[in-house]
Structure formats: C-alpha cells, structure tokens
C-alpha cells in the first residue's frame, strides 16, 4: 500500500523568507502523481502544485516550487518570499496511475506559521 510521510508537524518562517516542507512517500508504482494541498483555517482544501512522476523537471507555480527526487521518493515544497497568507496546514498527497487507483493518499500535514 502507498504511504505518505510528513515527519515535521510544524514549521515557522519569517515573512519574505523561503521555507521548505518535506514529504516522502512509498510506492511500487513507476507512474504516479504527487500534489501539495493547502488548508487554511477556513478548512478548504486548495491545490497548490502537482508533479507527474514521469517528468524530470520540477513543477513551479509562481512562488511555489517542488524538489522531486524520484529515486529517493522525496517530494518537498519550497515557498519563496513567504507571505502572511501562506500560513496554513500543508498536505502532501499521492495518486497512483490511472484507472482504479485514482484516490488520493494524504500525509499527516504540516502546520506552517509565518512571522511578520
């Protein structure tokens, strides 16, 4: 079974600084998809960024980028120029190949606080 591990329960970053959130996963599949979701205090689940395992290039969305290391099964999220609105719970999620394996498996999440 696939597992997703986020070992850091909490992190803190100074506004305008950069922070990296860690995630590792375990799978026997070679083709899969990885996601980072943000959950602010309002409890919505907002997609931040996604990465296809077959792509070697790391995904980037504005201030958010990932460091995807397939061999190490590592998928970290880097937030540059942190803003107060980035404060939230961040979940790493795995999705297997197409078809029946389309559910998301989430990590436990990490609470990010941003200091003004």
């Amino acid at each position: 079974a696939q597992t997703v591990t986020q070992s850091q329960p909490e992190m803190s970053v100074q506004e305008a600084e950069t922070v990296t959130l860690s995630c590792t996963y375990d799978t026997s599949e070679s083709d899969y998809y990885l996601f980072w979701y943000k959950q602010p205090p309002s409890r919505q689940m907002i997609l931040v960024i996604r990465q296809e395992a077959y792509k070697q290039q790391n995904a980037t969305e504005n201030r958010f980028s990932v460091n995807f290391q397939k061999a190490a099964k590592s998928f970290s999220l880097k937030i540059s120029d942190s803003q107060l609105g980035d404060a939230a719970m961040y979940f790493c999620a795995y999705r297997g190949p197409s078809g029946a394996n389309s559910k998301l498996t989430f990590g436990k999440g990490i609470t990010l606080s941003v200091r003004p």
């Binding site: 309002s42 190949p97 029946a100 389309s102 998301l104 999440g109």
Partner: protein, 115 residues
C-alpha cells in the same frame, strides 16, 4: 472558476440518527469522491464513484455509509446510524478524468458533529 459546493457547512446530529451530506460537483466532471478528516488528523479516503457506481471504497466505508447521485448533479453521502466517531469534516471532491494529471477539486467541506 467552477467550484465544488457542499451543503450544509455544519451539521449537528444526535447519535443514531441518519444524516445526508450533499455535494454538487463541477458540472463536466465524471469522477467523484468523499474524504473525511477527523479533527487534527489527516485526510482519509472514503469512496470513489464513477458511472453511477462505486469504483473503490476504504475500510472506513462500511455498511453504515452509502453514496448516491440521484439526479445527475448532486452527489450525496448518507450515514445510516451515526456514531460519535463519525464526527469529522467531510470533503467532497471531483475531477474530470482519473488519468493524466487531472487534480481533484475539493469543496469547502461539511463539519459533522455527532452529539
């Protein structure tokens, strides 16, 4: 941008009562999901639904749970006889296709409180 909408935002129910949580997925989406998040814990998969039938369900999704797409727009989760441990945030999600990198779009959730 189209959204997944869930109602109600908060539901309070007596233990043993039936509860129905409602979701309206994005209109052209084909795959639908329910997840739950017990307070302070991770988001857990409950069930996926495609072509009017369950595609996959987790161990949590026992005989007390059922899903339905009664009218082509709503997607409901029914809990037949609620227990205290059913108290959680329930998220509905949908996506256009289960393949490729189509992300699942989540609703804002329904907070279910069992008394």
């Amino acid at each position: 941008e189209p959204e997944v909408t869930q109602t109600p935002s908060h539901q309070v129910t007596q233990m043993g009562q039936e509860v129905i949580l409602r979701c309206v997925p994005i209109s052209n989406h084909l795959y639908f999901y329910w997840y739950r998040q017990i307070l302070g814990q991770k988001v857990e998969f409950l069930v996926s639904f495609y072509n009017n039938e369950i595609s996959e369900k987790s161990e949590i999704f026992d005989d007390q749970f059922s899903v339905e797409r009664p009218d082509g727009s709503n997607f409901t989760l029914k809990i037949r006889s609620t227990k205290l441990e059913d108290s959680a945030m329930y998220f509905c999600a949908s996506n256009l296709a289960s393949w490729d990198n189509q992300p699942q779009h989540f609703g804002d959730g329904t907070r279910l409180s069992i008394l």
